[in-house]
Symmetry: C2
Subunit: 137 residues, 2 copies
DNA sequence: CGGAATCCCTGAGGATACTG
DNA sequence: CAGTATCCTCAGGGATTCCG
């Protein structure tokens, strides 16, 4: 509906003014979106979606992540307050990572994105094949 | 509400099963999300949100993009069917880029993400400062 | 188990110059 | 104006090794 369109435009426009035409470093929104575009953050957050997990459990869940990147990304997520870390002083040590309230709140934007991707990938695949068809030697 | 939570979980779980635990190349959803996480795609799409623009107009709107990356990203967006390209045979040539219906449809997921970022950046900033406080030498 | 530290390499992407 | 074609840099991230 029309009011919805207007709202969308407002959001987009505000983003542009703050993020692209303004000073880049000063735009918190663009800074955060850069984090979204991080290679691993989103995957890890999604893994933690249905409960706390331990380090190596996450590692196994995302086969193609290196230990270094997992450590590093978890630290960043912690620093940003999306993930909490709990250490149990057992032997050997057990460490649990869990989404905070903030971390949980980002699941909704993510799911909207995933739903779009899921609904659109066939259209995109079709566009690609007709594109390469057109550009066939 | 609860039914909403269940729906969210379902989306997230389906993504994980298809994308992370499965064969990576076979998962169209993860492939598409990789494109979202592209450094420039989202910015360009947002620039085109309120109407067609010409090449150098986009370039000026995103000051820190190189012409190489703009060309390349526009080509990818075209190939994926998000953006259409219209050439006017004038002298000098004029080329207009415009969102397709598919391209317009991704604005909504984007706006949800932006709204989240806009609503959360203060919380994140606070988390960061208390984090660095804790880890002060 | 859950990391930290180091070394190393690839490829995304910037700078520059040229063309229709 | 709207690109194409090279060259080159540098940081993201993999592989490996070591530690409490």
């Amino acid at each position: 509906m029309a009011t919805d369109e207007i709202r969308l435009q407002a959001v987009v426009t505000r983003f542009r003014e703050a993020g692209v035409n303004g000073a880049l470093g000063d735009c918190p929104v663009r800074g955060i979106l850069d984090k979204i575009s991080d290679k691993w953050s989103m995957l890890i957050v999604l893994e933690l979606a249905d409960g706390p997990l331990r380090f190596n459990r996450i590692r196994r869940a995302i086969p193609d992540i290196s230990q270094k990147m997992l450590t590093q990304t978890l630290k960043e997520l912690q620093r940003d307050g999306l993930v909490s870390r709990k250490v149990y002083p057992t032997v050997p040590p057990a460490v649990e990572y869990e989404l905070t309230a903030l971390g949980t709140s980002i699941l909704r934007p993510f799911s909207v994105l995933i739903e779009w991707a899921d609904a659109s990938w066939e259209t995109i695949a079709a566009a690609r094949s007709s594109y390469s068809e057109q550009n066939a030697a």
